[in-house]
Symmetry: C2
């Protein structure tokens, strides 16, 4: 895993308090858990764009999209507490909150996407989208991008090549759009690759049910451009009898502002849209948005009940997140600060040899780390850990783990971007002086 | 689905306010959603064992196990609000709450079950258990009971025959333990059925990875007896190379008190235990408990990250639920009130022809509804709707939808049980006078 603490002899770096905590953690939490950083960070408090360690040191959060309106936003906390004290039950009784929330959320979508089903996690949302696509198409095949990540259930882990476990026999991968268009216009190339993947599936007796795409290609290394390149692929999967599913778990909720959803940047309307991480500002909340045709066909064949999905507290919190997005005019804010951050990253790239391409949309940026024109994951790791030592949180991404991934809460200010840029400048200057910081 | 509102001409029964809400709901929520009751109930507030409609009428909740310590318990709400205002982030940073919670929860388990992995839903927990079992055994096959329910992800829906969608080709079903032991000692019969299912899988080239059992057999119709009958089956699946997975999503957390977990009643230690519904008192929270051997093998092969799973708010809420269980001595309370309720149900069964077997453990009871010795789902439906009209909430269960399912919050008092029993007595008396209440 990118930016993973491997524990292999690195415990010695940790202060005694954190070493003791890590020891207890190892005793009780399953070994599949992974921590970030060569020296993991320990947090006890969050506020706005800051996370605080037990000594009161503030870390600038330039990574976490879940706390999209900022850590501990009082309006979100209050909505959660008030609703939890009032009513919290499931969707087999009539309650008002889920209906009000659905109406409000769906107003952000094209008119044809008018049906909401709520789950608790993005994994559940993508898994449900697959159940729906299978039911509606009667087919099983899935096409994803080469280094996609869509979640951790049995079914979607098998559609997430970035986990390193391979993909299932009914899954095919295609290269994500190439920003440099080396094989030709990115949209045409992707559509041709989707057609070839569908035909390869068919050759094995498997018809395609869906093309599932993270509309910002976060784990493929952040590929916002060329905008529009998904449109021919969406048409192609439909021509092949499948559905186009936009995974907006990372891209959605104004992350790529001015766009509210990643698919908007591609000038298309998906058949299904999956939502997650920022939706509840930290409360476990996710969902699937579909056309009435998909919802009706699925509902005619089966029922779907998610004990906690769409409970009144989730809906109150989801609504509070929309309140903040609207009242604090975060779409305008994200577009402004995102442009400022991207310009600053490009300026750094022009001065520091280790930085290559800068790719950004809204407040989501990926910066290639290169040495002699080649991916330099070791240097990317040095940068991420150098920023951590300067109390700025980011991580890495991409098939070569060579892309610095910057994805702060949406309330990140221009001054926060400046602090990030200054810390990155310092880190790069240090690295150019001493070579790799770590053996 | 048992006790489903089918909307087919039944809207006319609804007051105008609820009819309008239902119309908006149908416009915006996916058609796979289902409501309970011939006349769905509309709730706006909950407190303790009561749910309130918009006119302030209190319904006695004898069905909901999620709000296990009562609706809107102030200690749970406060823990959630305080933690959400302080820190809410994920498990890739060191945080104290998850470690404290894991230590505390695992103290309730046998020493060999010492590793916790947290998810958000019981479906995710069972799905993860399957991933773990596959990884550890290198096998794919699954054995479940005839009318099991284990969740709604793609993988576990295919192991949930009660959904009516059939099971996957790598899944076999066995009859649950027969309380009447008509085929012989229930434990021996189940073990023989598991052996036959494993051999049938093997005959199709599929080795068994796990036997997955809801330890109270809730959807099989509530089968607490004979206690101990799972023990030979657990030995048998291990002899066949598979693992024994106890699904405690419904049975766990003192529901079957004095037992904390359903598997305790069977005198065995599972290889994996899955947890859910009551764990967070309404907050989306679930998990898998395993031995170090299982956790280590899984962790060596892959990582597991669940964005919201084990976040500080979930852990604070989970800990608050354990506080209440301990401080309000709910295990003793549940054992006492459960015995009182079961005795009352048996007394009613002795007087009312429609009631057959009463099966109960702790505060979980199933009552067969019969007519001339045969399952009578229509009468069960009449009873559930008659209780709803008397403002008491229960539902139905079982392969024939003929079992009245009673599963109240754990804080249900003797006086609440008496109210339920009186309403049931009245309902049965009415039904015996007029025959079926509904055409």
């Amino acid at each position: 895993m990118a930016n993973a603490f491997d524990g292999d002899g690195q415990e010695g770096r940790l202060p005694a308090r954190e070493a003791a905590l890590l020891e207890r953690r190892t005793q009780r939490l399953g070994a599949a858990y992974r921590l970030f950083y060569r020296e993991p960070v320990h947090f006890v408090r969050g506020e706005g764009v800051s996370l605080f360690d037990p000594d009161g040191n503030a870390y600038l959060d330039a990574y976490n999209n879940v706390a999209c309106v900022g850590h501990g936003h009082p309006h979100v906390v209050q909505a959660m507490a008030e609703q939890a004290a009032t009513l919290n039950t499931h969707t087999r009784y009539l309650t008002d909150g889920i209906i009000e929330y659905a109406e409000r959320l769906l107003a952000y979508f094209p008119a044809s996407l008018s049906q909401l089903t709520l789950t608790c996690t993005g994994s559940e949302a993508n898994d449900l989208a697959y159940r729906m696509a299978r039911t509606v198409t009667g087919a099983d095949g899935v096409i994803v991008t080469d280094h996609a990540y869509h979640g951790v259930t049995t079914a979607v882990a098998q559609m997430s090549p970035s986990l390193g476990l391979g993909v299932a026999e009914h899954v095919r991968t295609v290269p994500p759009p190439d920003p440099h268009e080396r094989r030709g216009p990115a949209g045409d190339v992707l559509a041709a690759d989707v057609r070839a993947a569908a035909q390869d599936l068919s050759g094995h007796g498997i018809r395609p049910a869906m093309l599932l795409v993270d509309t910002i290609f976060a784990s493929d290394g952040m590929l916002p451009e060329p905008a529009g390149s998904l449109r021919p692929a969406a048409a192609e999967i439909r021509a092949q009898g499948g559905l186009f599913v936009a995974d907006e778990v990372q891209a959605g909720f104004a992350r790529l502002a001015p766009a509210m959803w990643g698919f908007e940047r591609h000038g298309l309307v998906p058949d299904l849209v999956t939502l997650g991480k920022p939706m509840g500002g930290g409360y476990p909340m996710a969902g699937v948005v579909t056309s009435p045709a998909v919802a009706t066909e699925f509902g005619a064949r089966t029922r779907y009940f998610n004990t906690f999905g769409g409970n009144p507290v989730a809906c109150a919190v989801g609504s509070a997140v929309l309140d903040v997005l609207e009242q604090e005019q975060l779409r305008e804010h994200v577009a402004d600060v995102g442009a400022h951050l991207a310009a600053g990253l490009r300026e750094l790239s022009s001065r520091h040899e280790l930085l290559g391409d800068v790719r950004a949309a809204g407040l989501f940026a990926g910066v290639d780390v290169v040495r002699e024109g080649q991916p330099a994951p070791d240097a990317a790791d040095d940068i991420v850990n150098g920023l951590r030592d300067r109390r700025v949180l980011v991580s890495t991404s991409g098939p070569h783990e060579d892309v610095v991934k910057i994805r702060p809460p949406l309330v990140f200010a221009r001054s926060d971007a400046d602090r990030l840029l200054a810390a990155l400048d310092e880190t790069l200057t240090d690295l150019s002086r001493v070579g790799r910081a770590e053996p």
